[in-house]
């Protein structure tokens, strides 16, 4: 199995190396490979996942036994059915926040049953939902939904949830500070709407304040239940990275501008998803823990 994975890894790395080499050989015109960037982008994501797996291959989080196979199937079927139902039943919505409760399913299954179950639930569940509604197959969005389930499942790589929370808080803090610092260093860039040079230092402050609120929220929730704090932070990270991946991929696939990808796709999808997940996943987790305590499995 490991040999097979290493083989795949070598193929992927070779593929990327060839693309980069071709880019260099073809001269300074970097846009010559513009069309195949997305393939490289996806390949890089796959390589990251494989490397992540290889460095933690001994961890039980990656095990796929009968239990995982059945939960993968149930998770995917639930996500698909909920996606279809909540798209079919006329649901109320407030402002731009759509009621999309199904998003809690991949996050919950990933967090409880591991990254493989989470990824499968998100990716295959999205395919099933699209099949039921007849919308077709969109690989980037299927992978993105997979990430939404996989990332919360990475919590199982840590023996101690508190350590995972500490690690994640540090990562989150460093990322926030890094982004804010980047904006402060170079606050004047081309505005997406006006096309003129604008000062974006406001967003650095927004990042700093938002980051501080999230980190403070982690400590407040942790006092109630460690799992609630963990699932919310891991779930939010999963949504941001998952939807972010799909939105960025669409810059190459559909030719969106960065502004369109952020305003038209990322924000309307990630924002409501995080809100839906932050409310429903803890309820689901609480109910599951109660049942688990009762049946003893």
């Amino acid at each position: 199995m490991t040999k097979k994975l290493i083989g795949w890894l070598v193929v992927m790395v070779a593929f990327i190396a060839i693309m980069l080499l071709a880019n260099v050989l073809l001269g300074p015109d970097a846009d010559k490979l513009q069309g195949v960037y997305w393939i490289v982008f996806t390949a890089i994501a796959v390589v990251i996942l494989i490397v992540l797996y290889l460095i933690s291959a001994d961890n039980k989080a990656w095990e796929v036994g009968t239990r995982q196979v059945v939960y993968m199937a149930i998770g995917a079927a639930l996500y698909g059915v909920f996606n279809w139902i909540f798209n079919t039943i006329p649901m109320p919505s407030v402002s731009q926040v759509a009621l999309r409760p199904s998003v809690c399913i991949p996050i919950f299954f990933g967090y409880v049953f591991g990254p493989v179950v989470g990824f499968f639930t998100g990716a295959v569940g999205n395919i099933i939902g699209d099949f039921l509604t007849g919308w077709g197959v969109y690989p980037a969005w299927d992978i993105a939904n997979g990430f939404m389930g996989l990332i919360p499942g990475l919590v199982l790589l840590f023996a101690d949830k508190k350590r995972s929370l500490n690690f994640l808080t540090i990562v989150f803090g460093v990322l926030t500070l890094g982004v804010a610092a980047l904006i402060f260093i170079n606050p004047k860039v081309v505005g997406p709407w006006t096309g003129e040079i604008e000062d974006f230092s406001f967003w650095a402050w927004a990042f700093l304040i938002g980051g501080a609120v999230v980190i403070a929220g982690r400590f407040v929730l942790e006092r109630i239940n460690e799992d609630l704090a963990a699932v919310n932070i891991w779930g939010s990270l999963g949504i941001i990275l998952g939807i972010g991946y799909a939105a960025l991929a669409d810059i190459w696939i559909n030719g969106y501008s960065l502004a369109t990808a952020l305003i038209g796709e990322f924000a309307p999808a990630a924002g409501p998803n995080i809100l839906n997940a932050m409310i429903l996943v803890p309820i689901l987790l609480g109910a599951y823990q109660a049942v688990q305590a009762r049946i003893g499995r």
């Binding site: 069309g35 196979v69 199937a73 079927a77 059915v81 279809w84 502004a259």
Partner: protein, 292 residues
């Protein structure tokens, strides 16, 4: 609640093809079309995609809803890219020829004012972008209507997915009607208690929270029920050896030809793209209109 797959048997040329060959073809066209901004090439891909759609004998009546929805999304996002104007700059084109200048326009609420330069390149890029997205949609939309869901497990096994994952996929498709029925029973039970999903009141947090009585019982019930399935599978030594499948897939001559065509399309597209062909093409008359 009736969970109805969009698939139905049509006995068409497309449906007689092996689903593995068809998925390979779909992925090949998808990763090929995204390598081009030349409207003439993209129109070629759109023709191929629509050819598949019509050969599958899909009707407007049955695909109307997804077409309308995807159409709205495509038009909206293309317009947004056109408005922001940065989609193709620096990638698909580097210089612009002005057709018209609109503005200064002001955005409501935020009050930002901006001038919209309608250029030849930006306009053609928006049209190419829209055609490309419709081509991707046309190639993707055909799949759920024409591939039997019960073949998905064996199809992905045939494409190299490990047995356990292929089986999980097969099982997931089989679970759908059961979970749909469970949801329906739960919805009826909650309605009998006065719960109205169509009339949730309160703020956004309260509304989301009120969906829990639908979501939680169905999910937890499925998880509890899964324990019996796991026991049954363990007792039958699931996962010990390689699996066999009730329905076998075999490549025919037409399937092999389709796979060869798919590989050729991808190879030719990648080579063409790397050689620098297939970039944004602006028709001469548009440039002439812009005075270029």
């Amino acid at each position: 609640m009736l969970i109805a797959w969009k698939y139905r048997e049509r006995n068409t040329v497309i449906q007689r093809l092996d689903p593995r060959a068809r998925l390979i073809f779909m992925l090949s066209v998808l990763v090929s079309v995204i390598q081009f901004w030349d409207l003439r090439i993209i129109l070629g891909f759109l023709t191929v995609a629509l050819g598949q759609y019509f050969l599958a004998k899909l009707t407007w009546r049955e695909t109307r809803r997804p077409w309308l929805l995807m159409g709205c999304i495509i038009v909206f996002l293309t317009f947004l890219t056109f408005l922001t104007g940065r989609g193709g700059v620096g990638t698909a084109y580097h210089e612009e020829h002005l057709l018209a200048r609109l503005g200064p326009l002001s955005l409501p609420i935020v009050g930002w004012s901006f001038t919209l330069d309608v250029t030849a390149e930006k306009t053609v890029f928006a049209i190419s972008q829209m055609v490309r997205m419709f081509a991707i949609t046309a190639i993707a939309i055909t799949i759920p209507y024409t591939i039997d869901p019960s073949l998905y497990g064996v199809t992905f096994r045939g494409l190299g997915l490990p047995d356990k994952f292929a089986y999980a996929m097969d099982l997931a498709f089989r679970y759908v009607p059961t979970l749909g029925r469970d949801f329906s029973i739960t919805l009826d039970a909650q309605r009998a208690r006065g719960y109205e999903v169509e009339k949730l009141s309160g703020g956004i947090i309260s509304q989301i929270r009120k969906l829990a009585p639908l979501l939680v019982p169905v999910t937890i019930n499925a998880i509890v029920g899964a324990e019996d399935v796991i026991d049954a599978m363990d007792l039958r030594c699931f996962g010990i050896g390689p699996r066999t499948w009730v329905r076998e897939l075999k490549y025919g001559r037409a399937d092999r030809a389709l796979i060869v065509v798919s590989v050729l399309i991808f190879a030719a597209s990648t080579a063409t793209s790397i050689m620098g062909y297939g970039r944004l093409w602006v028709p001469g008359f548009v440039l002439a209109w812009a005075g270029g």
